[in-house]
Symmetry: D2
Subunit: 268 residues, 4 copies
């Protein structure tokens, strides 16, 4: 085991999480999204005669699961009110969350990650607003990079919008992945996909066949059981041209919740 511990300690670590603060971009339906209040200050507990020199501070967090860098649980989306495995949504919904397919059932993601830097491949710092990354784009980008996503991998797609994290309005106009791109990713057998945007999909797009908005969401989660990772910061990884790496992403076991904030890492 020392071998693995030593490798972990010696690895170069790329932190793929965006910082969390009130004011970071939030998808409209997940507002207010995130609020932290520091209410216990050190001076409050400073009573040397009673507790010696020790004091303590703490805060309270109000947060939607889909705020900041996070992973979607399978229960987050339904197709025709059926969750993954054809579970009828309303049989597993409770006030305290889902009794099946909640985010506590998502295993730690530990394995290979692949980055497809579509913006880089196109030779731009950032794709055009709401640009829709197709399956052909992904295929060509992978070929150019000389990588191939394989079964069990985590596939990360870079649009270049991570640098706009400080600007909600601009960030919410991010490029995303088209239906054909989602299908191509799913065919690779990946365990999870992710992107440096709010929703993997381009919010305004609609699947002409079913009329579904956010095709990736309705396809990957309830139909294929593939997790979606959002608001990943891929800038440093792309700058260093790390197309494959060890990926570590560990959701919290928030019982019954539809997603979890997490801090994914890429190790090389």
């Amino acid at each position: 085991m020392t071998a693995l511990a030593d490798q972990l300690r010696g690895a170069t670590v790329y932190d793929l999480e965006q910082p969390r603060y009130h004011g970071m971009p939030i998808y409209p339906t997940h507002k207010p999204g995130y609020f932290y209040a520091l209410y216990r200050r050190h001076r409050d507990s400073y009573k040397p005669e009673q507790h010696g020199p020790r004091t303590s501070a703490a805060g309270v967090l109000t947060m939607m699961e889909h705020a900041g860098t996070h992973i979607d649980a399978l229960c987050h989306q339904s197709c025709g009110l059926k969750l993954y495995g054809d579970v009828p949504a309303e049989t597993v919904e409770t006030p305290a969350g889902f009794t099946q397919l909640g985010v506590e059932t998502v295993p730690p993601l530990l394995g290979r990650g692949v980055l497809l830097d579509v913006a880089g491949w196109k030779g731009v710092g950032r794709l055009p607003d709401k640009y829709s990354v197709t399956g052909d784009d992904l295929r060509a980008c992978a070929a150019k990079q000389g990588v191939e996503p394989r079964a069990g991998d985590v596939l990360l797609v870079r649009t270049g919008f991570a640098t706009l994290w400080h600007d909600e309005e601009a960030y919410l106009r991010a490029a995303g992945v088209a239906k054909s791109g989602t299908l191509w990713a799913a065919e690779r057998g990946v365990i999870a996909v992710g992107a440096d945007n709010m929703s993997w999909d381009v919010p305004d797009e609609r699947d002409p066949e079913t009329g579904a908005t956010l095709f990736g969401h309705v396809y990957l989660l309830p139909q294929k059981g593939i997790y979606i990772i959002e608001n990943v910061n891929l800038e440093r990884l792309a700058a260093d041209r790390r197309w494959t790496f060890a990926f570590i992403g560990i959701p919290l076991k928030l019982n019954g919740a539809t997603g979890s904030p997490f801090r994914p890492l890429a190790l090389v």
Copy 2:
């Protein structure tokens, strides 16, 4: 890199996080601690003519940072109103959190972990209520197990109270680590310590020298810069007698917060 990715994928994973739910044990000063409300149900967004078959569900979380399995940031404790590095507490406190030493400054913990199973070494399933694990206990237990915590390791101490996670009252009577145990751990140069209890320390104990309650807190965080991990579940790891392992613990970058929930893993 494939080497590391493959090792991660092939490893046996021990999940050290306790499940999170309203009703889990919470330290009195961190009440109410944790509450999740699923308010968007799938049926709410089921409008096939508008969105096709796709529907979405989501909830809202109210949470103190020190609820559930978590890591303490250095700003969580002061010694005489000084934080680690002699930073005066009130110069860095704001309503939105700390401007220095917040949990976003804690690096991902990736390296070697060592388990000292004090309960197991004593031949009991669980140490007596409020038993105080001394430096001698830790030294003897390490010797018996044939392990030695080294600089940079994460040191985990097992009291056996993890099995009482469903019972707040019983769990809050857990054994903890005495002043001498804390000193012994710090002398080893570890980067973080943790235990299967609410507060590493035994809450009622007092350092006779300074009068401080929770000696480990006032010593490790503001004086030594050593992180504290709480409410770790060490049962399976102990059952399998895994005394050393690769440790992965990745706090969220909650800007300015005094701690972060996380899901530590042990890999062998």
Copy 3:
């Protein structure tokens, strides 16, 4: 109008609200119930060169509607999934609350209030734990007091448990009103009923006819359109033997919510 303003200003005011704080009694299903965090302190905004001498402080509240002294909206309860007026519950439920019969539809309650001091009539400071106040009790108490609730009145029933507000466990064993008491109250045509306990009803009781728990809740709200007021403090009013008075109770217009905290007053 000066007449009314002068009367209001000159009246003796009985404050029927219990104080609100983290730790006050909360019904189990409404936990955590209430939490206030003062996070903006005055010193935080003290920058004389920028804002002159002015500073500001503020906090954040997390609260269930049924915490503390409050009034139930008609949407709070259903009978067989039908709300008042035979509205099917699920046609008016949304993530943001009810589109009909929410607490914003409750008018300010301004009119006559009647107190039936059942504990006083029985000659005890407090009724026995879980004592169930019958219709006969209410009738006899009213006769003894020489009062008669009339159409449009607010009827308040005193059990004597208000003095246990500091002790959740004891308070939750309060006496309440039996089915026959609820029926008697409804026959009087009152606009609202209230009591100095958590739930008007005795939680453990069951209507033998329908099997319903909390008969008053299933009868008054969805069937009769009569509001229920909970956790009223009737001690001073009873001590002064004020059996009738002007009642003022003004719910907040929390759109779609199932109840509202409020501070009812009795004026004489």
Copy 4:
């Protein structure tokens, strides 16, 4: 007493509260302000064999005290870190709120109210953006209306911005009361002032003498002990030319909080 009860029941009631919902205007420093989540739906508790036909629904509220129509407690503002009565702010601040001058110390406001319809007097539906209502304006408006605020009254000033409650950006540009207007109001000896805007004052203005922003806040609360009421809806009252009326405003006793939502009424 029947007299008063009958008068209350017979009065014409003007509801001065704005509706409360996620999306209503919030002052920037009080964001996110207001969020209600209905998480317990009726169907969740529908188990006829166990509970008969009764079901229950409930939600959870996250709210700043200064969201929506509300009243400021004296502890909300300091002048040079002194609260009303020269109380040093930091001696009464705790994580759970203020130990003195919290909103639970504000009495129910019951007495005479006076409306000065400045917009109406100027012959406009709404004053210009950020118009600053002077003492001369108030004096002239009162003379024109033939009313005179007296000691103990609640003085309400109409800018006409209440109709923009659905539009945060426009509402936050509301007119307010100038330093001279605040001084004139305080000299009348009123118990509270209020306006149909976010902050009584014009946010951008600065007292040339002290440099203070929000002069009304730093003068009325910590120096004069006069309460401030914000986001009052005065439209109907003005349309009916009700210049004086019985005012009822009853804050919640939120222990230690810096303000309270409430629903003020004008009765004629």
